[in-house]
């Protein structure tokens, strides 16, 4: 399901942390990576230098047990990245997330944000911790609104290739206008969360449900921090409302605010390929 990844590499990333990201990606069952290095303009010497660096990087990635390929392209990074990812039939895009200062982000924008906005495939943003390398995937938080994204995201979470010990299922609700309706809304939300928890129970040691109220983006970040999760998984609607168009959707804002890595699965991804359905994965696991 998430075997093949197209990874953006600028060659300015700290190598150790970049390799940590690839090691982390093994938790998703990734075993093939396509490194994509994009430049606005490249002369022969620079290209040669980049090729050498990518080859060296590739050798080290091979040692992690992953097959590596790379390409160097000229152009506008977000556009090229999404195009290459499609050409190489990657299952998702991976970015080494480098947070930008507010002013710099406001003035220059962010390539990674643009990739996230433009991409129609899942995007993984690795948040390298300053002191503690994150290689193992202990806990995942999935923020659900019980809408269409569940159909897209749940197959990934249920897949036995997705290795994590604890799954937190979070629903951030909107308070109903009166106490009776609010009680019914809460009850419905908890029932839905329990249903999702049951569906995922086979793939994790522990599944915990959290129902809360508030601003979605704030609550996701707050709960992720409180539970010390390693990864936030969230869906992305392909029909943003007016406010989202202005200030960015929750999915687009999360990487800036979260203290951990983020996996965004767009709505338009559709369901994973037939052979990757949980039953198939379960069969594979049994066979193994």
């Amino acid at each position: 399901m998430l075997q093949r990844a197209a990874v953006k590499v600028s060659l300015t990333e700290p190598k150790k942390k970049f390799l940590d990201m690839l090691a982390f990606m093994r938790n998703f069952g990734t075993n093939e990576v396509h490194l994509v290095h994009v430049r606005t303009k490249t002369n022969y010497r620079e290209r040669e230098k980049a090729e050498t660096a990518l080859e060296e990087l590739g050798t080290e990635i091979n040692q992690l047990g992953m097959a590596v390929d790379f390409s160097i392209r000229n152009g506008y990074a977000p556009g090229v990245m999404t195009e290459v990812a499609g050409t190489v039939q990657a299952d998702y895009l991976a970015l080494y997330w480098k947070p930008k200062a507010l002013l710099r982000h406001a003035l220059l924008g962010s390539i990674d944000s643009d990739i996230l906005r433009m991409s129609n495939m899942p995007v993984f943003m690795y948040n390298p911790k300053l002191f503690r390398p994150v290689v193992e995937l202990e806990s995942v938080l999935y923020a659900t609104d019980f809408q269409f994204t569940d159909a897209v995201v749940m197959p990934y979470l249920k897949s036995s290739r997705f290795k994590a010990r604890t799954l937190y299922l979070l629903h951030v609700g909107e308070r109903a206008p009166d106490p009776d309706t609010e009680a019914r809304r809460r009850e419905r939300a908890l029932t839905n969360l329990e249903r999702l928890a049951e569906e995922c129970a086979h793939a994790y040691d522990q599944v915990e449900v959290i129902e809360t109220l508030g601003l979605v983006r704030n609550e996701i970040v707050r709960q992720a921090k409180a539970k010390k999760v390693d990864l936030i998984v969230a869906g992305k609607s392909d029909k943003p409302n007016t406010m989202s168009r202005l200030v960015g959707s929750t999915a687009e804002v999360l990487p800036h605010r979260a203290h951990c890595s983020v996996f965004i699965i767009p709505n338009v991804c559709g369901l994973p390929r037939h052979e990757d359905t949980p039953d198939q994965a379960k069969g594979e696991a049994d066979h193994a």
Binding site: E174, R175, P177, D178, T181, E182, L213
Partner: protein, 507 residues
């Protein structure tokens, strides 16, 4: 709910009211000085907040009416309105504007004519045009937009969502169960505070006008004793009306009064300078609509700021402080109407009647002032409450007109005080639709006795300023009300009506 918790708003607000009344009674100069300082500071530093908020309330009201939320009913889906259109409009008018309009119908245009902002020449044609335009503006759609925000929120959360008709109930989408805690109590206490002081000052000033009206046709000298008698009579009347219940008392008095008002209006129009009145109405209406946006946001910082502070900002603050009472009352008579019907009804009908009223009385006064040198403006400058009676003195049957106007004033007073005691009773008994008689009597007597005491000691203006001071926190509360209402209706359309539609098609 435990009894003490149910009465916490009553006990707290009653105690605060008593303390402030005691200050007004025993230390009127101090109250006057404190309130003047507070009032001046608020108008100087936060005046623009009132102007901007009133404009936002107008935009919000229009949005609620003409967006998809407009079709939501203030009640159950198939509920019918409790009152006919005529009764509804009459009660809206009586509670929201009636008494003030009689007081200011002649006085306000004349005051602006004689004392316009510094950049307009006094007693000039331009001043007359300005006076009419701003009279329309101060009594036009903005006050109603303020009332609408309050009443729409209360009506939606109580009749549609089944919560008690309290201002604190509207905050459920924002505060949740905390509305039953200190924040909720604070909101309701502030509402009681503004209502009591608003009605006390209104009753006091109105009693003065009734007094001067009666003194102009009856052989007695207007003094404190006669004012006291008027207050006592009005009190007995509104207590009787209050005990008969909302449906009968206020409805009967309001419809009768609006009919009486329309009769006087028609008489003044037919006997007076009808052509001038029509010219004034059309011209001012055109001026008003053309400059509505400019007037809405003009604080005039480079010219005439003081005039704006004294009039427009004062009015906006006064409407806001008056809004908890009118809002609760208007909500209670609007059950069963859709949001669109409610907003358009409240914005258009009383406003149009107000415009006609100002054109008839203001236009007639201008006609006499400009054509016959009647010195009505000078009379208003001396005593605001006598402007209308001075105008009558130029008309045939002036004594009958004065008597009818006094009757009109008394009845408007009775309806206002009646609805105020009903609203106060409701607010201090956890939102009971039929508040206990004891509470209505306590509030009724408190209001009347306070008005009498403060008229005697001269602390009435101080109390009015305190009511206006309460408008500042209330502006914030009302802005949050807009947010809460928006959340409520959005939730309904997003989560509930979708489900209903799915159920209907059998999904």
């Amino acid at each position: 709910m435990p009894k003490i918790k149910q009465n916490i708003v009553f006990l707290a607000s009653f105690s605060i009211v008593l303390v402030l009344i005691a200050v007004g009674a025993f230390l009127p100069e101090k109250l006057d000085a404190w309130s003047a300082r507070l009032h001046a500071a608020i108008i100087r530093d936060f005046g623009w907040t009132y102007l901007l908020s009133a404009f936002l309330f107008l935009v919000f009201s229009l949005y609620m009416a003409f967006s998809k939320f407009g079709r939501i009913k203030l009640g159950n889906d198939h509920e019918k309105p409790r009152f006919s259109y005529f009764a509804w409009f009459s009660m809206l008018f009586a509670a929201g504007m009636g008494i003030g309009l009689i007081f200011w119908g002649v006085a306000e245009p004349m005051s602006h004519y004689l004392n316009p902002p510094a950049y307009i020449e006094k007693s000039s044609p331009e001043a007359a045009r300005f006076a009419m335009r701003y009279s329309f503006f101060h009594w036009g759609v903005h006050p109603w937009a303020i009332y609408i925000v309050m009443s729409l929120s209360i009506a939606y959360f109580s009749f549609r969502r089944g919560m008690p008709p309290l201002i604190s109930s509207c905050f459920f989408p924002l505060l949740g169960e905390r509305i039953h805690g200190p924040i909720g109590y604070f909101i309701d206490i502030l509402a009681v505070f503004a209502t009591v002081f608003g009605i006390v000052t209104s009753l006091g000033l109105g009693a003065l006008q009734i007094n001067s009206g009666l003194a102009s046709i009856l052989p007695f000298e207007a003094g404190f004793t006669s004012t006291l008698v008027i207050i006592a009579v009005v009190t007995v009347l509104f207590m009787i009306s209050s005990m008969t219940g909302l449906d009968r008392g206020i409805k009967l008095l309001s419809t009768a009064n609006v009919m009486l008002a329309i009769t006087i209006l028609l008489f003044m129009f037919l006997v007076g300078p009808s052509t001038t009145i029509m010219n004034v109405l059309l011209n001012t209406f055109a001026d008003y609509t053309a400059s509505l946006f400019t007037m809405s946001l003009s604080t005039n910082p480079f010219r005439g700021l003081e005039w704006t502070q004294n009039w427009t900002l004062f009015y906006w603050a006064w409407w806001i402080s008056w809004s908890p009472f009118v809002g609760l009352f208007v909500a209670s008579i609007s059950r069963g109407r859709t949001i669109r019907e409610f907003v358009t009804g409240c914005l258009l009908v009383p406003t149009l009647l107000t415009f006609v009223w100002f054109s008839v009385f203001g236009g007639s006064a201008f006609h006499l002032e400009l054509q016959q040198g009647a010195h009505i403006a000078a009379t208003v400058a001396e005593d605001v409450s006598t402007g209308l009676f001075k105008l009558y003195s130029f008309y045939p049957l002036s004594s009958v007109l004065t008597l009818l106007t006094v009757l009109l004033l008394v009845v408007f007073f009775v309806t206002s005080a009646d609805s105020a005691t009903f609203v106060l009773g409701m607010m201090t008994s956890g939102g009971q639709q039929d508040p206990p008689a004891a509470k209505k009597i306590i509030w009724g007597l408190t209001v009347s006795v306070t008005a009498a005491i403060l008229l005697f000691t001269g602390g009435l203006e101080g109390l009015q300023r305190m009511a206006i001071a309460a408008a500042l926190p209330f502006t914030g509360i009302m802005l949050l009300l807009c947010l809460c209402l928006l959340r409520g209706v959005r939730y309904e359309l997003r989560h509930e009506q979708d489900n209903d539609a799915r159920r209907d098609i059998g999904e």
